[in-house]
Symmetry: C2
Subunit: 211 residues, 2 copies
DNA sequence: AAATGTTTTAAACACCAGTATCACACAAGC
DNA sequence: GCTTGTGTGATACTGGTGTTTAAAACATTT
């Protein structure tokens, strides 16, 4: 009579937790909300993930790792292919942004929820979130910064990093607001349209480093 | 023996709540933390502000109103002075960003905490925060969007709003990360340097609407 | 078929949050 | 002088949180 089967419970927890976290923030969601929506027992979270924090880490780190692996892969390939000469700016920006905005190559159900959650992480006040960003994201961003740097040699180190920080901030902010673009634009733009976001980000970011 | 005096309590609550909210987020801070740091009684919050939510509203709305009043004032003056011909893009962007990044003309102690708090609001998941933004900020942003629009007539309505949204997102993200720039840039940029943030944002934003 | 390891369940626990209560201090006013 | 009203103070209350427990159910293996 019990509905299901072997290892479904952790998957259900992850999926429902992710979408709830995306909408209400990490400490805006209780384990009871998660487990009741997932149709599993409250204790299942502590059994399968030890902790609420560990559950959060799992969700965030999974997504970030997949995206960053794709990014580093593609950038490394592009650099190898061009054999020392700089990768074009548009290509760098595309490699940086596309895995974040679109599903990417991983087969998991990357969707609007995970985008919104990732966009939210960057202003999440919880210490462990900052720690995840520092270890998982910072190195990747530094690497892309170096690649982009070659296209803006006339900027001072400070000005370049300010510029780069603004670009990255715009990207993350876009991720967090994709779901609400219609209301923010009085109905002109569509909600959950990462393709438009990506193409606009590309031209936007390229201009930020022009001269 | 009681330390103090007449109407100091509300002010102490506001100041300490603001800096705590800026650091740990709205529901990352308890009233007990606020009142103990402020050196006032726990019940003082409910006495002077009815609610925790009302306290948050008060803090956020105060700051937003002051900034937006300055913005609208200056934009209206510039438009009147130019008598119908478009206000230069740089000037619009400066009017939009300066009151947010710098102290502005209001005499209150606008500081790093309030910047960080305002930068955080935009990704705060609490419903009443979104409501404050919709009523307090959205109209102002629409107004500035219209002013900027005249400098990017060739963009489609959708593309313009995407571009504008990215620029505004970068601005807000910068507000939220000003306090942490040193760590994010491996020591190259300084922490809490709104002047650098502003000047870099200005050239950055201007280029976003070029052609 | 019995035994073993794994997962699920319901209930309880300890804790901390926001809020409400009620007594007290102390000023100004008739 | 006494009262009234405003602010303060310590404390209690109610509800929700993450977590733990121990028993039951299940699957798997021998």
């Amino acid at each position: 009579m019990a509905i299901e089967t072997s290892g479904e419970t952790p998957r259900k927890i992850l999926a429902n937790a992710e979408s709830l976290f995306a909408e209400y923030g990490l400490n805006g969601v209780s384990l009871r909300q998660i487990t009741s929506r997932a149709g599993v027992n409250l204790a299942a979270v502590n059994y399968h993930y030890y902790d609420k924090e560990a559950l959060c880490r799992e969700i965030i780190t999974n997504r970030l790792r997949a995206i960053n692996a794709t990014r580093l892969d593609e950038l490394t390939q592009a650099e190898a292919r061009l054999d020392g000469s700089p990768v074009p700016l548009d290509e760098i920006l595309g490699i940086m942004a596309r895995p974040l905005f679109l599903s990417g190559s991983d087969p998991s159900n990357y969707n609007a929820s995970s985008r919104r959650l990732l966009g939210r992480i960057f202003s999440e006040p919880l210490p462990f979130a900052a720690e995840i960003l520092a270890t998982e994201l910072q190195p990747v961003m530094t690497r892309f910064g170096q690649a982009i740097r070659r296209h803006a040699p006339s900027l001072s180190p400070q000005d370049f990093l300010w510029r780069y920080s603004l670009v990255v901030g715009a990207m993350h902010h876009a991720m967090a607001t994709l779901h609400d673009m219609k209301a923010r634009t009085n109905g002109v733009c569509r909600n959950d349209d990462p393709q438009s976001a990506l193409s606009n980000f590309m031209v936007f970011a390229a201009q930020a480093f022009a001269c």
